[in-house]
């Protein structure tokens, strides 16, 4: 069982080998989180400790601990039913963990509601792209930016405050067009989101998530149901964004894709962290191979 028991020191040991982030240094910054809110290189990564989630008698996540490095592509892989999506849902507040702790940028976010998590800069996309189907692509995009004054009912309705709402709407609109152009889906702007293809929806969802100005993105199977050419495009975008300093945690069950694109790979199996490390190392790990071939690990 020793391989499956990745506990705290082991998880940390994997992190700083070539990172410019020293754990000690980082922990001293708890108070300065506000300043480190954006993707500055010394901001804290996501840290999950002893996460456990039970549904009735079923233990979906069984003491998972891992950290995500800043400004990197981290892949979370595992066979079906390994607990990846549940872990994701616990991090993003959709499920409340049974026990364990989740820290984001040094702050405890365990048990926060999904909107609170998103407002801290940790934004997710969904496995099945969840577009707002009977809204146009542009409306979908314009929903996302934070701090919109017009979301206050009175400011939207009253005539003398409506102007400032309009002004902000123009800024928002401009950013949305830029983002649509960046993702090359600007020709679809006036289309209902429900009419988009699977791949276009994934692009829209990523674009929409970016408009919330996240510091970290959690992508739940971003490549599922996407045709190869769009997959390449999506990957290019993700690499671009990584280079700009965004942090990614990507859940996938397509092992090859993760191995080729991520700097750091976490492998889950049966609710536990099987191993983590650089792709080359993980690829050689016999437990991982066994898990993917369906063998019972540690027996």
């Amino acid at each position: 069982m020793s391989d499956t028991e990745v506990d705290e020191p082991a998880a940390e040991a994997n992190v700083p080998d070539d990172a410019d982030v020293e754990i000690d240094e980082v922990e001293s910054q708890d108070s300065a989180v506000e300043e480190a809110a954006k993707h500055t290189p010394d901001a804290l990564p996501l840290r999950v400790r002893d996460l456990r989630k039970e549904f009735g008698g079923i233990v979906a996540v069984d003491g998972a601990s891992f950290t995500v490095r800043e400004g990197a592509l981290t892949g979370l892989i595992g066979p079906n039913g390994a607990g990846k999506s549940t872990t994701f849902n616990c991090i993003t507040g959709i499920h409340e963990p049974t026990s364990g702790q989740i820290q984001f940028q040094g702050q405890d976010i365990t048990g926060l509601s999904p909107n609170q998590v998103a407002n801290r800069g940790l934004v997710r996309t969904f496995q099945i792209a969840r577009e707002l189907e009977e809204m146009t692509v542009l409306e979908n995009m314009m929903l996302a930016p934070k701090g919109q004054r017009g979301e206050s009912l009175w400011r939207s309705v009253l005539p003398f405050t409506r102007r400032s709402v309009n002004k902000q709407e123009e800024e928002v609109l401009e950013r949305c067009w830029e983002m649509l152009e960046f993702f090359e889906i600007d020709h679809l702007a006036y289309e209902y989101a429900g009419n988009l293809s699977g791949g276009q929806r994934k692009l829209l969802e990523l674009a929409r998530a970016l408009l919330t100005e996240p510091s970290m993105l959690l992508l739940d199977e971003p490549f599922a149901g996407v045709n190869p050419s769009l997959e390449t495009r999506l990957l290019e975008h993700i690499h671009d964004l990584r280079d700009q300093g965004y942090t990614f945690l990507i859940v996938e069950h397509d092992m090859d894709l993760i191995m080729q694109n991520c700097e750091h790979v976490i492998v889950m199996h049966q609710g536990k962290i099987l191993t983590e490390g650089p792709p080359e190392e993980v690829k050689r790990n016999e437990a991982v191979i066994e898990a993917y071939l369906g063998g019972e690990v540690g027996e």
Binding site: L138, E139, R149, V165, Y190, Q244
Partner: protein
């Protein structure tokens, strides 16, 4: 929340909203629809040899129903069309509204009133109306708070249940009469409440127009040849026009609400609440706000519906009225404010008032003399294949068949045009037109780098 910079770039930019032009078009459409309906009714009235008095009465009543159903449909559109809240308790909110107004504004009775009647607190009517709207809104919050976590269908059950609870509370004899701080007040129980206030009279008094109005009415009444006592005719017309003004206010308010970032979040909640949450929107707050506003407007709709009727009884507020409003909304197209008004007008004119009128017109044209019972009507068809008595009988009972006709129309719509007349129109939820900004191609990747200094920041006040 991480962006707490509060960089409230103060906006003093005055941009003429080109939405006004679109709004103008929609208003024109709606105006034409109402004028067309009125013309149709005038023609029908002429065929029935209506005198001026009858014509004016019929138009007054028609406009009244158009206005109330359009207002209620607009309020429901905020709940269902925008936010996706399946509210089938409209009657309850209406009842809370008008009953609160009645209790607050009925003349005070400081000594024990006669059996079967109760007093109120004797407050001015406008205080009563505001109180009624607030009460309906607060009642909305009470419904919403526990029920918002429920799925749409369970939420619907809660709302219809609560509207029935309201009705039974109003029927309850323990609340019929009581004494609060010296005032003899109560809900009247099954016999209801006499509304001994007249909104049009009060309004005229406020503006000091009682005398000129009386002179005007007498003069015009004489000119038109209405006969003795023209005041009730003009009162009902005046009240109908007043309601059309209220309808306009509803429309403007809800359009502004819908075409704004607030309305955008509501639409997003309708589409997918979880996805909306994952973008950092506190959806529960938005849902409660939308539900309270809609409930308050339904209360106001109830107040305006019944304030001039002279009396209210609890059994007026059966779920049937809720479904009338739903039919109006579905007709017009959920999600569109213009469609809601259209649906309200069409429902009032053709489904609510229409059958009765149609019956009179047909009977007048064909000079039908219908038999009295179904047996007498079906007999000739069976014995001598003569369908005429049955047809005549059906026409004679068109008013009673109202609900059957409504049901048929609803089924037809669901099969052939579930989105209603204007349901699938694109009404983007933004306060500005979504044109593409005119600019040369910048390096788009640059724009990506987190928005730069011109990033939109501002206080989140929806937490």
């Amino acid at each position: 929340m991480s962006a707490d910079a509060e960089g409230d770039a103060e906006a003093g930019n005055d941009l003429p909203s080109p939405l006004d032009t679109l709004w103008g078009q929609d208003a024109t459409k709606l105006g034409l629809l109402v004028v067309g309906i009125v013309a149709l009714y005038v023609i029908a009235g002429t065929m029935l040899d209506y005198g001026v008095r009858q014509q004016l009465n019929s138009i007054g009543l028609l406009l009244f129903y158009i206005a109330v159903f359009a207002m209620l449909a607009l309020a429901l559109n905020l709940h269902w069309g925008y936010t996706g809240l399946f509210n089938i308790g409209i009657a309850g909110f209406m009842a809370v509204g008008i009953y609160t107004t009645a209790v607050l504004s009925k003349p005070a009775a400081l000594s024990e009133p006669a059996a079967g009647s109760v007093g109120g607190f004797g407050l001015p009517l406008w205080v009563g109306i505001i109180g009624g709207v607030i009460a309906a809104s607060v009642f909305g919050a009470l419904v919403a708070l526990p029920a918002l976590r429920l799925r749409a269908d369970y939420f619907a059950i809660v709302t219809v249940g609560l509207s029935e609870i309201v009705r039974f509370v109003l029927l309850e004899s323990s609340f019929q009469k009581g004494q609060i701080a010296g005032y003899f007040v109560g809900l009247g129980g099954g016999s209801g409440l006499i509304l001994d206030f007249d909104p049009t009279d009060q309004l005229l008094t406020v503006f000091g127009l009682t005398e000129p109005y009386a002179d005007f009415v007498d003069g015009l009444g004489a000119t038109l040849g209405i006969g003795s006592n023209p005041k009730p005719v003009f009162d009902s017309l005046l009240y109908a026009l007043l309601l059309l003004v209220f309808l306009l206010c509803f429309y403007v308010l809800l359009r502004r609400t819908g075409n704004s970032p607030f309305g955008r979040v509501l639409k997003a909640i309708r589409e997918d609440e979880e996805a909306t949450k994952s973008l950092g929107k506190d959806t529960n707050m938005f849902k409660i706000k939308a539900f309270m506003i809609g409930a308050g407007l339904m209360g106001l709709g109830g107040i305006l519906f019944y304030a001039e009727q002279g009396a209210i009884t609890p059994n007026t507020f059966r779920p049937r009225i809720t479904f009338f409003v739903w039919i109006a909304l579905i007709l017009g197209g959920a999600g569109s404010n213009t469609g809601s008004v259209m649906g309200g007008a069409i429902f009032a004119a053709f489904l609510f008032r229409g059958p009765l009128f149609l019956k009179n017109v047909i009977e007048d044209i064909f000079e039908i003399d219908a038999v009295n019972t179904f047996g007498q009507a079906i007999g000739p068809l069976l014995s001598s294949a003569d369908p005429l008595p049955l047809l005549a009988y059906t026409v004679d009972n068109l008013a009673q068949l109202q609900l059957v006709i409504m049901g048929t129309v609803l089924i037809y719509l669901m099969h052939n045009r579930p989105e209603g007349l204007l349901g699938h129109r694109k009404e983007p939820a933004t306060s500005i037109p979504l044109t593409r900004p005119d600019r040369s191609t910048e390096t788009t990747t640059q724009a990506m780098s987190d928005g730069g200094p011109d990033r939109v920041t501002g206080g989140e006040d929806d937490e």
